[in-house]
Structure formats: structure tokens, C-alpha cells
Amino acid sequence: MGSPMKIRAQMKGDVADIKILMAHTMETGQRKDPKTNQAIPAHFIQQFSVEVGGKAVVQSQTGPSISTNPVFGFKVKGAKAGDKVVVKWQDNKGDSRADEATVA
């Protein structure tokens, strides 16, 4: 189980502005440990999904080119204050994490 995410969801006019900060090493698999000279195994988020008010709004496939502790932001039309935002991710080692927030 990964570390908790930080999710911010705020109505700006009729559009919900959603920002997700995920805690993940996002190791590319191409770096070497300077001490042992062995490659550090790849470890990254492969996919994540976002639901707003029970509706899937984002389905993503991500790779090792995404930075450590990545931030994703997007705007959703048709959401309203009080809607529940559910974010789930899964990484290449089978680890996963789900967090919730409410649109403010």
C-alpha cells in the first residue's frame, strides 16, 4: 500500500479544478545505485483513474517518464460542490492506492 495522495478539488465557475499529488518514487529502471553499481529496478505508476460523482472522468496510462511525486491537474465540466472525487492508482509492482476527496 502506497502513501496517501493529496487531492484538491474546487469549483471555479461551472468547472471543477482538480489537482492530484501522488507520493511515488517513479523509478525509471535506468538508474544505477552508485554504491553497488546495480540498476535500481523500475518502479512506477502504470495507470490511474479518477471518478467524479460516480462517473469515470480520467483513465490514464503512465510510464517511467513521469517525475517523482507527480502532480496531475485537470478541469471537469458538469461537476458540482459536494461531489466525491475518487482517485486510484496501480504501479508495476502490483501496489495500489485509492484516496477520496470532496469537491469544494
Partner: protein, 293 residues
């Protein structure tokens, strides 16, 4: 190989000279228009295009600062029962405002702690509490005091949590306390001390206005404005490497850059420097844990 090196050097030189030209250009114009205004301040105020663009980038990153992740981790460490003595810091550690009180503590440190008999900065106080109250071994904490790779030391997360709880509050180091004042004066002397193979002191780079290293403007830590720039944004999340770093690290690294032997983690020297800088920034509003390139 050799040619490539020369080409690279030439490119680097071209890069290095450009901003100098850009920065100095407006100065004569400004003097011509308003002779009464001191011209010396102009190069500092003038921002080149790269600085402006970088500031835009920084503002964008500040909106979703990964430092928040370390803050959450630090909060967990602060509140949970840990260590050989099985106590939580929230019920045992006094950051100067009473046991367990975190709100506003960061901007009022360094301060004098009677139980330790020393002036301490936030990180040093947290480490002291971990050792004295929770029973952690000093040697274990000293082994790797700074973040590297995916490793983040516990005091780093803790100081991020404590610092975040002073967001939007004004720096108020209690300089009226003679013991703090004494350490402040020592800090001033440390910044003046020239030594090492380069015969550098802190003030070689940070003791005058308008100095620059490559693209970075260097703050003059003797002035309130410069000191504010220097203490703002620490502890900070460094995008290069994705690590959370503290002021203790920053101070140690300054000594390394001067080719000095690095002072010990949470030592008197570092506290005195932090007292000097933070007190010079007294009155400025702290913006919380920051983000660094």
C-alpha cells in the same frame, strides 16, 4: 573529445556573459532619467527573461508542492507514539510555546531552551526531543541526517510539518533574550570568518547587494530583504532528485561549497548562522515549506 570540451566551455562562457550584459544595460538609462535615485540598486531589481520565466514556473509548482507529502508524514511522526521510551512528541516536546504546541513555533525559533541550556533552531530542537524524550540514539540520527534518493530522515519530515504550521506568520526570533542575542552575534562573526583553501567567508558572496553566481541572484544576508530571501522556502522540496531538504542541509552545503570542513549536523555553528539570518528576517511573513529547482 578535446574539441567537444572546448566547444562546451565556449558555450558556457557565452551563457554566462549574456545575463551580465542584460542586467547592466538598464543601469545607465535609469541613472540618466533619475540621477537622484541610487543607481547601485538597479542591477538587483532588474530581472532578466530567464528569472521571470523561472518565477512563473516556480509559482505553478508552489500550487502543488510535494512538500505537503512530507508534511503529512511529519504530522504522523509527531503524533504517534514512537522510540524506545514509547512517547509521542506531541505529548513531550516543547518547541518554545508549550508542550505539543506547533502552531507558530517555527517562526519564533531559534530561541533559548532552558531544559537544554542552549539556543536551538527548529530542526535541532526536534532532534533534541527525539533523543531526550523518545530515547532515539544520537548516533543513528547522525548516520544519515539528510535526504538522498528515496530516503528521507525523520527529522526532515518533522521539521516540514512544524514549518508548515507557521505558514503566513511573521518571523519573530526573540532577540530581546540576551542569550539569543549572543548567539546572533556569534552568527554574524561566523559569516565574517574567512578561511579554507579559497579564503572565502559567507560574506564573500552574501555580504553585498547585487551579487550573482551564474544565473542565480545571491541575497545579502545582512539586510532584512536578503535574509528574508535566504530563509524563505526552507525546508524545501528539491525537484532535482525529488528530495526534501532542510536549512541544516543548506548551511552544511554552503560550507562544502566554500571547501570548508562541514560542521556537524545540529551543531552550535549552524544554529548561530540560522539565528543571525532568521532574526535579520524578523517581521517578514513566512510562506511555508517551499520548492526548489
Amino acid at each position: 573529445m578535446r574539441q567537444a570540451l572546448i566547444a562546451a566551455t565556449a558555450f558556457a562562457l557565452a551563457l554566462a556573459t549574456q545575463p551580465v550584459v542584460a542586467q547592466n544595460k538598464p543601469a545607465p538609462a535609469a541613472t540618466a532619467k533619475k540621477a537622484a535615485k541610487p543607481a547601485a540598486a538597479a542591477p538587483v531589481e532588474e530581472k532578466d527573461a530567464a528569472t521571470v520565466e523561472f518565477e512563473k514556473f516556480r509559482t505553478m509548482m508552489e500550487e502543488s508542492n510535494p512538500a505537503e507529502l512530507f508534511e503529512a508524514q511529519g504530522e504522523d511522526f509527531w503524533k504517534s507514539i514512537r522510540g524506545p521510551k514509547q512517547v509521542s512528541l506531541a505529548t513531550s516536546c516543547d518547541l518554545g510555546l508549550g508542550v505539543g504546541i506547533v502552531k507558530g513555533a517555527y517562526v519564533q525559533m531559534p530561541r533559548y531552551f532552558a531544559d537544554a541550556g542552549k539556543v536551538m533552531d527548529a530542526e535541532r530542537r526536534i532532534v533534541w526531543c527525539m533523543i531526550e524524550k523518545q530515547g532515539f540514539k544520537e548516533a543513528d540520527i547522525m548516520k544519515q541526517p539528510f535526504a538522498s534518493g528515496s530516503y528521507t530522515p525523520e527529522p526532515t519530515s518533522l521539521v516540514t510539518y512544524v514549518a508548515a504550521n507557521s505558514k503566513d506568520m511573521k518571523f519573530a526570533v526573540p532577540l530581546k533574550d540576551p542569550r539569543v542575542k549572543e548567539v546572533y552575534e556569534i552568527g554574524r562573526e561566523v559569516t565574517n570568518h574567512r578561511a579554507g583553501p579559497y579564503d572565502f567567508s559567507c560574506n564573500t558572496c552574501h555580504g553585498a547587494d547585487g551579487k550573482r553566481i551564474r544565473m542565480q541572484n545571491l541575497p545579502n544576508i545582512a539586510t532584512p530583504k536578503g535574509a528574508t530571501t535566504a530563509v524563505m522556502g526552507w525546508p524545501g522540496y528539491r525537484m532535482t532528485g525529488g528530495v526534501m531538504l532542510t536549512q541544516q542541509w543548506r548551511m552544511g552545503d554552503c560550507f562544502r561549497q566554500q571547501r570548508f570542513p562541514q560542521p556537524k549536523y545540529v551543531s552550535d555553528t549552524i544554529t548561530s548562522l540560522l539565528t543571525y539570518m532568521t532574526a535579520n528576517a524578523n517581521g517578514a511573513t513566512y510562506k511555508g515549506p517551499g520548492i526548489k529547482r
